[in-house]
C-alpha cells in the first residue's frame, strides 16, 4: 500500500509454433506490460507480416463499427470469451463482406433517400421567397434575352460574387437572408451567360434545378414538392424499419465478429512489437511479482519449450523505466486520483496516497469545521458519486471531506453557523473543544504547529526515499535531505528560543543558542551552499563547481536567502488552516448580521430564515471551493515538494476485453 507493486522484468523466448497461444495467455491474463522488443530481432527477416495483419484487423474493426453505427447498435464486447487464434482473417473478412453487403443495400437506399429529402427541402426553401409570384418557373430558363440563375450559396460568398460581376451588367437580389445559406436571384444579358456561369460556379452557388415533373407556378411546384417530401419520409421510415430488422437478425454474429477482430488486432499489435528471430520470438515486459508464478504456469501449459527468464527488480536504486502499478484499496481511489494529478510515483519511492487520505480530509475539515456544512457537503458528494459516474471519484473525495468537516464541527461546536446549540447540549458538550473565532491566536499557533510537523514528516520521508534509492548525495546534502532537516529544525529552534525570550521573557541558556547557531550554519553550508559540489563529489562527477567561483558564490548567496525565506514561508503557509477555521466562523457571523437586518432585528420570520438558508448555501459552495483549493495547495506545494519526485511510467498491461472485465 505504501509502495507500488513489486515488479519483475520478464524475457520470454517462444517457439514460432506457440506464438499465438502464448500471446493469447498474455492478453487474457491482463498482467503483462509489454516493451517494444523489435530491436532484439533479426533485421534481415524483412517487414513483419503482423504489422500488416494488425492494420487489416484495424480496418475490419472500423468497418464493423460503421455497420453497428448504421444499425444504431452500441459497441459491445460482452461476447468476449477467450480469443480463438485459429479464426482465419479471410474467414472474418468474408463474413464482414457478407453482412456489410446486406446492410449496405438498405443503408445506401436510406442515405440516398435522405439526400433526396434534403434536396427537396432545399428546393422548397428556394421557392418560398417567390411563392406569391404568378409565373411559370420553367420560364426562367427559357427567356430569349435574359439569363437568370436562382439558387443558394454560402453567405460569405455573396458580396464577392457581386464584386466578381462588376464588369458585366446584372441585377442581383438576395431573396432570403440567411446566416448560412441565403437564397439569391441573379439576372443578366444572355450574351454574358458564360461570364455569369463562371462567376456563379466559382462562388459555389448551387442553382435551383427542378426535375421535369415539377412544372407550373411556384405555388404549384411547392405543393408537388411537399407531396414528394411526404412520400420520401415514408420511404425513409420503411428503410429504417428494414435496418432495425437486420440489426435484430445479425445482432449476435456482429458482436462475435467485433470481438474476434478486436482481439485479433490487439494480438497482432502485440506480436508486431515482439523481436523476431529465425524460429523463435523474443518477448520482453514487466509483470507484478505476485502474478509471475501463475502467469508462468499458464505459459508453460500452452508452450512446453518456452524459456522464461525473470529478473525481480529491487526497490533500491533508480528505476525510471519500471512501470508503476499502485496497489491501494478501491476506497482510496479519490486520493490516488489526487496523487496522480500531481505526478505518478516512481517505482522506488513512497506512494503518498495513504498519507494524503489522512492529511487531506483533516486539513480540509479543520478549515471547514461545521456539522451542518459538513453534512451538506457529504450529501452533495454522495449525489455526485451516485449520479455522475464520470466524476464518481470526486464525489468520494467530497464525502470524506464533508464527514471530517462534520467531526471538526462537533469539536468547534458549530452547526450551520450556530455556535451555541451544540456546546449547550449535555451530550454534545463532551465533544466540544473550542470556538476558533474566540481563540484566534491559539488556533493560528496550532495550525503552524501542525504545518511544522507535516513539513518535518515530509523531510523524513525524503530521507527514507533517498535511502531506499541509495541516493546518498540526496540523503545527506539535498536541501530536503539530512542537512536540510538539521537546518530546518535548528532554524525553528532559534526562532522558538528567540520568541520565547522576547515574548515570554524566558531566558534561554546561551549555550543552547550557540549549539543552534552552529547547527544552522553547518546545515546551511552542507545542505544549501555546498549542496551541489558535495553531491557531485559523492556521485563521482567532475568538475565539482560549474561555471566558475564567482557565479557559484552569487548563486549560493541567493539560494541561501531563498532557503531561509522558504523555510519560514513554508511553515507559515499552514497558518491558513487556522485562518480559514476563523474565517469560516466569521462568514457565519456575517450571515447572521444580514439575517438580523432582514428581520429588522427580531431574528425571526421568513426573511430571517431565507437569509440563513441562502447564506449557509453560499458558505458551503464558496468557502468549500476555496478551502479545497487551499488544501490542495498545502499538499502539492508545501508537503509533496519535500519528498515526492514523481515521474513514474504508467503500468499498462496488455489486456483483451475479457481480461479487462476480470
Amino acid at each position: 500500500m505504501f509502495f507500488p507493486k513489486s515488479m519483475t522484468e520478464v524475457e520470454l523466448i517462444v517457439p514460432t509454433k506457440d506464438l499465438l497461444a502464448v500471446t493469447n495467455v498474455l492478453g487474457s491474463r491482463g498482467v503483462f506490460h509489454q516493451i517494444d522488443s523489435t530491436y532484439l530481432g533479426l533485421v534481415n527477416l524483412g517487414p513483419s507480416t503482423w504489422q500488416e495483419k494488425a492494420a487489416a484487423y484495424s480496418t475490419l474493426e472500423r468497418r464493423i463499427q460503421v455497420i453497428l453505427q448504421a444499425l444504431s447498435m452500441e459497441e459491445d464486447y460482452s461476447a468476449a470469451t477467450s480469443f480463438n487464434p485459429s479464426v482465419d482473417l479471410d474467414v472474418i473478412r468474408s463474413a464482414v463482406d457478407r453482412v456489410e453487403g446486406e446492410i449496405k443495400q438498405v443503408s445506401d437506399h436510406l442515405n440516398a433517400e435522405k439526400k433526396r429529402l434534403e434536396q427537396l427541402e432545399s428546393q422548397l426553401v428556394q421557392l418560398e421567397p417567390i411563392a406569391d409570384v404568378n409565373f411559370e418557373v420553367g420560364a426562367l430558363t427559357q427567356s430569349r434575352y435574359l439569363y437568370s440563375v436562382l439558387g443558394i450559396l454560402p453567405a460569405a460568398n455573396v458580396s464577392r460574387l457581386e464584386t466578381s460581376l462588376s464588369r458585366v451588367p446584372h441585377v442581383f437580389f438576395v431573396l432570403r437572408e440567411d446566416s448560412q445559406k441565403p437564397v439569391v436571384w441573379l439576372l443578366g444579358p444572355r450574351s454574358n451567360s458564360d461570364v455569369i456561369d463562371r462567376a456563379v460556379k466559382s462562388a459555389y452557388l448551387n442553382p435551383l434545378v427542378l426535375p421535369d415533373e415539377f412544372t407550373g407556378t411556384p405555388v404549384r411546384v411547392s405543393e408537388s414538392i411537399r407531396r414528394s417530401i411526404e412520400a420520401s419520409r415514408q420511404e425513409i421510415s420503411k428503410f429504417e424499419a428494414g435496418l432495425a430488422k437486420l440489426a435484430e437478425s445479425h445482432h449476435e454474429e456482429l458482436y462475435q465478429l467485433l470481438w474476434d477482430v478486436h482481439a485479433g488486432r490487439i494480438t497482432a499489435d502485440a506480436i508486431a512489437r515482439f523481436g523476431q528471430l529465425r524460429h523463435t520470438y523474443v518477448i520482453v515486459g514487466w509483470v507484478p511479482s505476485s502474478d509471475l508464478d501463475h502467469l508462468s504456469q499458464q505459459l508453460r501449459s500452452v508452450s512446453r519449450e518456452i524459456l522464461i527468464e525473470a529478473r525481480p527488480i529491487e526497490r533500491a536504486g533508480q528505476h525510471a523505466n519500471v512501470p508503476v502499478a499502485l496497489r491501494n484499496p478501491g476506497l482510496l481511489g479519490p486520493f490516488e486520483m489526487l496523487v496522480n494529478t500531481y505526478a505518478r510515483p516512481r517505482y522506488e519511492e513512497i506512494d503518498p496516497t495513504v498519507l494524503i487520505a489522512i492529511t487531506f480530509p483533516v486539513l480540509f475539515g479543520a478549515m471547514f469545521g461545521d456539522v451542518g456544512h459538513g453534512l451538506v457537503l457529504a450529501l452533495f458528494g454522495g449525489l455526485l458519486a451516485y449520479r455522475a459516474h464520470k466524476i464518481a471519484s470526486l464525489g468520494g473525495l467530497v464525502i470524506v471531506c464533508g464527514l471530517v468537516a462534520t467531526i471538526f464541527g462537533f469539536l468547534y461546536g458549530s452547526i450551520f453557523g450556530f455556535e451555541d446549540i451544540l456546546p449547550s447540549n449535555p451530550f454534545f458538550k463532551q465533544f466540544f473543544w473550542m470556538h476558533p473565532i474566540e481563540n484566534i491566536i491559539a488556533t493560528l499557533g496550532i495550525a503552524v504547529g501542525v504545518g511544522v510537523v507535516l513539513l518535518s514528516f515530509g523531510l523524513l520521508l525524503n530521507l527514507y526515499n533517498a535511502l531506499r534509492a541509495r541516493d546518498w548525495g540526496r540523503f545527506f546534502f539535498d536541501p530536503n535531505g539530512l542537512a536540510g532537516l538539521i537546518l530546518y529544525w535548528s532554524f525553528l529552534g532559534l526562532v522558538v528560543a528567540g520568541a520565547g525570550g522576547f515574548i515570554m521573557h524566558q531566558t534561554v541558556p546561551s549555550f543552547v543558542f550557540a549549539i543552534l547557531i552552529v547547527l544552522v550554519i553547518s546545515g546551511a553550508l552542507t545542505g544549501v551552499v555546498f549542496s551541489e559540489p558535495l553531491k557531485r563529489l559523492i556521485e563521482g562527477h567532475r568538475p565539482l563547481i560549474e561555471g566558475g567561483i564567482g557565479i557559484f558564490a552569487v548563486q549560493s548567496f541567493f539560494e541561501l536567502l531563498e532557503k531561509f525565506i522558504s523555510m519560514f514561508s513554508n511553515s507559515m503557509s499552514y497558518v491558513r488552516v487556522g485562518a480559514f477555521a476563523v474565517a469560516h466562523a466569521g462568514f457565519s457571523l456575517a450571515v447572521f448580521v444580514f439575517a438580523g437586518l432582514a428581520s429588522a432585528g427580531t431574528n425571526m420570520g421568513l426573511g430571517y430564515w431565507v437569509v440563513i438558508v441562502f447564506g449557509n448555501l453560499f458558505i458551503v459552495g464558496f468557502e468549500g471551493f476555496i478551502v479545497s483549493i487551499q488544501t490542495m495547495r498545502l499538499h502539492y506545494y508545501e508537503f509533496f515538494s519535500k519528498f515526492f519526485t514523481g515521474g513514474g511510467s504508467p503500468y499498462e498491461p496488455l489486456a483483451l476485453p475479457s481480461a479487462r472485465k476480470n
Binding site: 533485421v43 492494420a55 480496418t59 450559396l153 460568398n157 464584386t163 462567376a199 466559382s202
Partner: protein, 361 residues
C-alpha cells in the same frame, strides 16, 4: 483570464525565452553547409529539436521520420502557446493552428484520389498517414476512417460535426460534377482564411493591431500567390480569380487583387506593395521555378512583420503569434534542408528556397 499586462506577463516572458531557441541565419547557413544528411541530422540534434530527434532509433533516421519529428516540435509549440494564451485571444491562435488540420484534410482527400490505385486499403492509410502533420489528439478529423471510406463523398460525410462539413457541403456539388479536388481545396482554403481573419477582427486594442498585422501578412502572401497562380498557371477568368480570393489583408488591398484578376501588370503591383522585391518580372518569365521564389520573398516579408512584433510593448498577442509563425517558417527551412541533403541536391538548387540565410531587409 484578463488580457493586457496581467494576462500576457507570463506568456510574453516564456515566449521571449523561446525566441532564443529559434535558429539564427548563421545556424541555418552552417546546416546548409553540412556535407550530407547524416551530418545535418547530427547538427540538428544539437539544437532545440534535439530532444525530438533523440527518440528516433537508428533505423528510423530517414528523412520522412525526421521531418515528422521536426513538425512534432512545432505542434507542441502551438499546443503550449495555446494553453498559455489569454482566453480572449486564444480562439485566434487555435484557428491559426487549424491551418495544419486543413492541410491534413486536403492530404487525406488527395490520398483517397491518387493513392487508392496503388494497393489494398491498409497500405493506403499508411501512405497517407506519413504525410499528415502530427496534430495528435488535438485534431477532430477522423482521418483514418476517411481514407478507409474509399471515396471522397463518403469521406466528406464523415466530417459531420466538424467546421469543415458546412464549408464542403456547397463544394461537394461541384466535386460530384467535375470530379476534381480543386473546388474542395479552394473552398477549404477560403473558409480557413476567412475564419482566421474574422477571429483577428474580433480582438481589440493592441491585440487587434498586432493580430491584423501578422494574420494579414500571412493572408497577403496567400491572396497574392493565389491571384498570380490562378492567372499565370490556371488561366482563370477575372470573375473566377475574384471569387477564389479574399478582399482583405494587411498590405495587399482588394483593388490590387482585382487589378491582377483584370489583367494588370503583376510585377508593377507587387513592386509597389513590396518595394524590396524588385525582380518580379524574372520570376514571372519562368513561372515553374519563378513563382516558388516569389513565394520565398513574400515569406521573408512575413518574417519582417513578425520580427517587428518584438519591438515595443510585449503585452499583446503579436509576440506569441510571431513566435509560432517564425517557428513554422523555420521548420519549412529545415524540411528544405532535410530533403535537399537526403537527395544530394547541389547547393544552388535549394539555397534560394531557404528563408533564413538572408534576413529580410
Amino acid at each position: 483570464m484578463p488580457g493586457g499586462v496581467s494576462g500576457y506577463a507570463a506568456i510574453s516572458s516564456r515566449v521571449r525565452a523561446r525566441f532564443s531557441s529559434l535558429l539564427t541565419p548563421q545556424d541555418v547557413t552552417r546546416m546548409s553547409d553540412a556535407p550530407d544528411f547524416a551530418s545535418l541530422f547530427g547538427a540538428l540534434k544539437n539544437t532545440a529539436y534535439g530532444p525530438y530527434l533523440d527518440s528516433l532509433k537508428d533505423r528510423d533516421v530517414v528523412p520522412r521520420r525526421v521531418i515528422i519529428q521536426l513538425k512534432k516540435r512545432l505542434a507542441d509549440s502551438y499546443d503550449s502557446v495555446i494553453q498559455m494564451t489569454p482566453v480572449e485571444t486564444r480562439p485566434l491562435v487555435k484557428q491559426l493552428f487549424r491551418y495544419f488540420e486543413v492541410g491534413n484534410l486536403k492530404a487525406v482527400l488527395r490520398g483517397i484520389i491518387t493513392v487508392s490505385a496503388w494497393g489494398p486499403e491498409t497500405v493506403l492509410w499508411d501512405r497517407v498517414h506519413e504525410v499528415l502533420f502530427p496534430l495528435g489528439s488535438t485534431s477532430r478529423l477522423p482521418a483514418q476512417a476517411m481514407v478507409e471510406s474509399g471515396s471522397v463523398a463518403s469521406a466528406v460525410d464523415l466530417l459531420q460535426g466538424t467546421p469543415y462539413q458546412e464549408t464542403l457541403s456547397f463544394a461537394m456539388k461541384r466535386y460530384s460534377a467535375e470530379q476534381n479536388l480543386f473546388a474542395l481545396e479552394v473552398a477549404l482554403d477560403l473558409g480557413f482564411w476567412r475564419s482566421l481573419w474574422a477571429e483577428a477582427g474580433k480582438l481589440t486594442g493592441q491585440d487587434h493591431e498586432q493580430g491584423v498585422r501578422i494574420v494579414g501578412s500571412l493572408l497577403d502572401m496567400n491572396n497574392l500567390m493565389w491571384a498570380v497562380r490562378y492567372r499565370v498557371y490556371h488561366k482563370l477568368s477575372e470573375e473566377e480569380i475574384v471569387n477564389y480570393t479574399l478582399p482583405v489583408g494587411f498590405r495587399v488591398k482588394d483593388s490590387d487583387i482585382r487589378a491582377i484578376a483584370a489583367g494588370a501588370d503583376i510585377a508593377s503591383i507587387i513592386t509597389r506593395i513590396y518595394p524590396a522585391i524588385v525582380d518580379v518580372n524574372t520570376f514571372l518569365e519562368d513561372p515553374q521555378t519563378g513563382l516558388p521564389k516569389l513565394e520565398v520573398h513574400l515569406k521573408r516579408q512575413i518574417m519582417k512583420q513578425c520580427l517587428s512584433a518584438l519591438v515595443g510593448s510585449p503585452f499583446h498577442i503579436g509576440l506569441p503569434l510571431a513566435y509560432l509563425v517564425l517557428s513554422d517558417l523555420e521548420v519549412q527551412d529545415l524540411i528544405v534542408l532535410v530533403e535537399a541533403k537526403s537527395s544530394n541536391l547541389p547547393a544552388d538548387q535549394y539555397r534560394p528556397f531557404l528563408l533564413k540565410t538572408i534576413m529580410p531587409a
